[in-house]
């Protein structure tokens, strides 16, 4: 059975790669090539681009990636469990429910403190931040102001 999978995946993989590669290779003989300095420029705004775009990006994307990672692992654990838990008895059920509860707790924490909000800079979301004027976050905010 595992044998089948390897063959099937390899076949699709190789076929896909070969086709894409053949498309590039065959195209190489057919297509025109008229290099021009303007074609090498970044497609941004018509003016020469200022700076590289390999810059830092917003922390929110990392948070999403982290939360996703945790949930995805949970679900990947759930899949095989879901197939056998009925025959594995009550202990399996309670184990997973406990695990699930921990996850839900984490999820509620994220929700409460606004990590699930995308827009965070306005008063609509501000109740989520527990910053007082005299604590660290509040001082940092004043410094930046």
């Amino acid at each position: 059975m595992g044998h089948d999978l390897v063959i099937g995946i390899l076949l699709f993989f190789v076929a896909g790669f070969l086709m894409a590669f053949a498309a590039l290779l065959v195209g190489k003989f057919l297509r025109t090539s008229l290099p021009h300095p303007d074609k090498d420029a970044a497609y941004e705004c018509g003016e020469p681009t200022i700076g590289s775009s390999w810059v830092q990006f917003d922390l929110r994307f990392y948070v999403v990636a982290l939360v996703f990672l945790i949930f995805d692992i949970e679900i990947a654990l759930f899949y095989p469990w879901a197939v056998v838990y009925k025959s594995a008895g009550i202990a399996a059920l309670w184990d997973m429910l406990f695990f699930f509860a921990v996850l839900v707790l984490g999820f509620l924490y994220l929700w409460r403190f606004g990590y699930l909000d995308w827009v965070r800079a306005t008063e609509g979301q501000s109740r989520k931040f527990d910053a007082k004027p005299d604590d660290d976050l509040g001082k940092a905010a004043r410094q930046w102001a």
Partner: protein
């Protein structure tokens, strides 16, 4: 006329191709008994099926693009492509030739290795999900001994759905690499948005697949289909789960109304801004292939897979016979269902306006994930206690209503006049 090829060469090429095809037919005829033996073996049959499917799907994808243009034309009261061939049916061919012939620009400022690798990844990863989809159940060639059957499936494995989940998650790589390698701000923003969106919607998607696994108590897609034989299809018991799965699949494919990654007005074309010609085409082939895969999984899990509804005449024969014709009929049924799903995808795209990014994220994390967790929990208890299946229908409706009422109760406008935190800090309001 192709540049550098004259008429004489084209005639010679045509004759050569015809002769080659004829020779292949003769060879097939000579080795027909060996071929029959090979086709009767599951392993070699899988190989042939994989190659055949590759061809079918590539053609289907090309025609999906035509269908998309036709549907958009229909929605917007236009004609759509109608010049190349009857009803524009040769348009995909013309597009393909055009994309082959176009100049393939690799700008100087990109990371060249990753820039070339990204479309390959996007394309290949969307292909390999097909390996585990049951296309037509079990069947028997007329020359095989009685009682033996073959599975019309490339790889029949125990962890098919886990595999689909893993492959689906890998789709992010193509997008992120493309955006990063392009060294273009629009591409970068598009890729970041797309990856965050795909990750977010992966979670409810995987949860809804988990509901289907719990229901059929198997991670095999063919078991999920067999479970639905002779009863209501799973979506009748899990309407909310099927709906969430559909919407999440829509977002996962970066399709409108969730096409934030390539919001034209803001980001030109998103992560594939810098791509042209055949590499650009590979992203598109990947996107449409992904649509077909996700529709196939959705149909298999919630909409009866290759089964015909029982009340139709001949449904019994189509669903259960091991005759080769019945197998092709089942394949046709599956393709028809996939086609319906894709048409719905397209009509949604041309009907609904685009989401705003924060709405998109909160839809995933604050609506679908909690609802999904509740549905999973409900289904775990229902299966464990052997409660009747229609309990889950009630549960789904209750969860939908509860979610709706809850969000209506806590809803507050996020647009309109907002006061910045700093201003409030300084007492300026």
């Amino acid at each position: 006329m192709i540049r550098g090829v004259n008429k004489q060469q084209m005639v010679v090429g045509g004759i050569g191709a015809t002769l080659g095809g004829f020779a292949a037919l003769v060879l097939l005829f000579i080795f027909r008994s060996q071929l029959a033996d090979l086709l009767a073996d599951q392993f070699y049959f899988s190989l042939f099926l994989a190659l055949g499917l590759f061809g079918i799907i590539m053609t289907a994808v090309a025609y999906c693009i035509l269908l998309e243009r036709k549907i958009s034309a229909w929605v917007q009261d236009r004609y759509g492509p109608n010049r190349v061939g009857p009803l524009g049916l040769l348009q995909p061919l013309a597009d393909g030739i055009k994309l082959f012939m176009k100049e393939d620009i690799i700008p100087r400022h990109v990371d060249k290795g990753l820039f070339v690798l990204a479309p390959f990844l996007a394309f290949v990863i969307s292909m390999i999900g097909y390996a585990v989809i049951p296309w037509g159940g079990e069947f028997r060639w007329p020359w095989m001994p009685e009682g033996e059957t073959l599975k019309c499936q490339v790889a029949s494995i125990d962890i098919a759905l886990l595999y689909i989940l893993a492959v689906g998650s890998m789709g992010v790589y193509g997008v992120v690499l493309a955006g990063w390698a392009s060294n273009n701000k629009y591409a970068m923003y598009g890729a970041m948005r797309a990856s965050a969106q795909m990750l977010s919607y992966e979670v409810p998607l995987a949860m809804m697949v988990l509901v289907a696994i719990l229901t059929s108590q198997s991670m095999r897609l063919e078991d999920a289909v067999a479970f639905q034989a002779g009863s209501w299809w799973t979506f009748a018991y899990h309407p909310l789960a099927a709906l969430i799965l559909f919407i999440a699949a829509l977002a996962e494919a970066n399709r409108a109304p969730f096409d934030l990654a390539e919001a034209e007005q803001e980001l030109i074309a998103g992560f594939h801004t810098e791509y042209s010609a055949i590499k650009w085409a590979m992203f598109f082939l990947g996107e449409y292939t992904h649509m077909i895969t996700s529709s196939a999984v959705m149909v298999s899990l919630f909409f009866g897979g290759y089964l015909l509804p029982d009340f139709l005449p001949g449904a019994h024969w189509v669903n259960e016979s091991t005759n080769i014709l019945a197998m092709f009929a089942r394949m046709g049924v599956l393709f028809a269902k996939i086609g319906i799903f894709i048409a719905v995808y397209m009509m949604v795209r041309w009907t609904l306006p685009r989401f705003r990014y924060d709405q998109l994220m909160s839809l995933a994390w604050k609506a679908f994930v909690p609802m999904g967790m509740l549905i999973v929990l409900m289904q775990v208890l229902i299966i464990y206690n052997d409660w009747p299946q229609w309990y889950s229908l009630i549960g789904n409706i209750v969860i939908l209503l509860a979610g709706g009422l809850f969000s209506a109760a806590v809803a507050k406008p996020i647009t309109g006049r907002q006061v910045s935190l700093l201003k409030r800090e300084r007492g300026m309001t």
